[in-house]
């Protein structure tokens, strides 16, 4: 499969302050995003995620390295023709209505007005802003602005969608809707490159991820290769027994009323815990093995680096 994005040895150092202090942000990062996949770009705050995206979009000039979008240098404005972008905090002209704003962005792609009317209506419906279409953007909540931002990112029916924290500021229902839209993009053959702090969302929908820490890519690969199915521990909730009864078998995490939440690290001791509960006429409320998650990998990677 061809690469939608190819980044090779990208470096960027900022010189900030009156007496310029150099601060390297990207230290030679390389990765590629394949056509048609959902790619998650993770990293702690200040790791260089947004700087990478800004380099990709030509908002920042890299000091070294190359960036290609569908095989074309990112420096050419034409490379941005098949691209849709949603910034982290959408900043738009707040005196325009959502409909006017979308018409303006359509103009920036040189789309014909007669063609855009129907497309704008469809996009407003897709992001759930039909009723607010003729309200000025200054009256929008953060979640609504995020939706308007998503709509403008799709105005050109892009092959590649770049989303910087698309789920930030969304309520749980809104997050689910946006997740569903992203998955739909994949079904339509679009490539999605997105950053998010909400790792569960990334785990749910991404095909591949890259983790950036301190300006370096420290992990990259398919999610199924990174996250093993190894059981880390088993969580059990029991009632009718005191926490002390499990000493040596499991670690008591919390006590709520007569319920005790236990964490059992050795698989062989799960049976012993169950036997103990039965012997003391206690009750097993829940039992669930915890496998490795993206969050575990992320925390481990970031703390180790």
């Amino acid at each position: 499969m061809a690469d939608a994005i190819r980044i090779d040895k990208l470096q960027k150092t900022f010189r900030l302050g009156f007496i310029p202090k150099t601060r390297p942000i990207l230290k030679g990062i390389s990765f590629s995003v394949r056509e048609g996949e959902i790619f998650g770009y993770l990293g702690p705050n200040g790791a260089g995620k947004t700087t990478t995206i800004k380099c990709l979009l030509g908002l920042i000039h890299p000091d070294a390295g190359t960036i290609e979008i569908f095989g074309r240098s990112h420096l050419s404005p034409r490379s941005r023709e098949p691209l849709g972008f949603l910034p982290e905090n959408p900043y738009f002209y707040d005196y325009l209505t959502a409909r006017e704003f979308l018409a303006f962005t359509a103009d920036l792609f040189g789309l014909a007005r007669k063609e855009t009317g129907g497309r704008i209506a469809r996009l407003l419906k897709l992001v759930g802003l039909e009723r607010a279409a003729d309200l000025p953007l200054r009256k929008f909540s953060r979640g609504m602005l995020q939706r308007a931002g998503l709509a403008q990112a799709l105005i050109n029916d892009p092959k590649l969608v770049i989303l910087d924290e698309p789920l930030g500021g969304m309520d749980p229902l809104g997050r689910k809707e946006i997740r569903d839209i992203i998955v739909r993009f994949k079904d339509e053959g679009k490539t999605v490159f997105f950053t998010s702090h909400i790792l569960q969302d990334i785990e749910m929908i991404c095909d591949r991820v890259a983790i950036i820490v301190g300006g370096r890519i420290v992990k990259e690969g398919a999610l199924r290769d990174l996250v093993s199915e190894r059981v880390l521990f088993t969580e059990a909730t029991v009632s009718g027994l005191f926490p002390d009864a499990f000493r040596g078998l499991a670690e008591s995490v919390s006590v709520q009323g007569d319920r005790v939440l236990l964490r059992i690290f050795e698989e062989s001791k799960v049976g012993e815990v169950l036997d103990l509960v039965r012997a003391h006429k206690g009750r097993l409320v829940s039992l669930s093995p915890r496998t490795e998650t993206l969050e575990d990998i992320f925390v481990e990677t970031v703390t180790r680096t």
Binding site: L59, H61, P87
Partner: protein, 254 residues
């Protein structure tokens, strides 16, 4: 198409700026007050009305160009709306030209409105529509176009306050630099004269656009002067816009 989209949004934004209407109000007040001034002054009343009217259009037009122009690009960067724009297939040069044209369009509408008030006041006194006054207004507008380009240039790398000071300095230097021409005439040939000549060539001479005296007093103007003033304005504006594009192309938007 893309340039016009940017120009259109700039026009819309400038239209919402209250300072534009405040300056327009004072310009209109200046033009109307010229009648009162004419009554109080000894001399040809109509000439005083024309003088004060044209000066009002010029001064308040320049203030509009500077005060709105210097915030144009800066606001886009400060409010981060530029991220969404430059992520589109848009050349940075198209962005700068769009911003420039948007403000030029705003100033055109404002100059037109001020001119209508001015012509109406003159008509009330002479009962004639004096089209020749529009020649002076036309060159005032050309000067405003150049000042707009300067404001956009400074706005592309500096804060509005600093940009306003720089643009104001450009305007003042532009109206005083003609003095260098007199100095050149009186200097002996040599390195000093060459240096002053080079300085005069580089510095703007905005007096090239000043046809107020000739128009008000009905003095003849050779057609060549019109043409050279027009070409000077167009070339200087293109040069300044070129600089603005160069500066803007190198910028990082952090």
């Amino acid at each position: 198409m893309k340039i016009w989209a940017i120009a259109g949004i700039t026009f819309k934004e400038a239209k919402r700026d209250r300072i534009l209407y405040l300056l327009f109000f004072f310009a209109a007040l200046g033009i109307v007050a010229s009648r009162a001034l004419a009554v109080l002054t000894v001399g040809d009343r109509v000439k005083i009305i024309k003088d004060v009217g044209l000066a009002s259009i010029s001064v308040f037009g320049v203030l509009m160009a500077i005060l709105i122009g210097t915030g144009l690009v800066y606001k886009e960067i400060d409010k981060k709306t530029i991220f969404t724009l430059l992520a589109k297939p848009l050349h940075r040069a198209e962005f700068i030209l769009g911003k420039f044209l948007g403000l030029v369009l705003t100033l055109f509408v404002m100059t037109l409105a001020m001119s209508l008030i001015f012509l109406a006041i003159v008509y009330a006194h002479t009962l004639k529509i004096e089209g020749v006054l529009l020649v002076a207004v036309g060159y005032i507008f050309l000067e405003l176009v150049l000042i707009t380009a300067v404001a956009v240039l400074f706005s592309s790398f500096s804060t509005p306050i600093l940009s306003s000071l720089f643009a104001l300095a450009f305007y003042l230097i532009g109206h005083l630099s003609w003095g260098l021409e007199l100095i050149i005439k009186k200097m002996r040939p040599g390195a000093g004269k060459a240096l002053v000549r080079a300085l005069y060539t580089f510095l703007p001479d905005l007096e090239n656009f000043n046809f107020k005296t000739e128009v008000v007093h009905g003095l003849p103007i050779p057609p060549g002067i019109y043409v050279s003033a027009f070409l000077y304005g167009v070339c200087y504006t293109a040069f300044i816009l070129g600089l603005a594009v160069l500066v803007f192309r190198r910028r990082d938007f952090i």
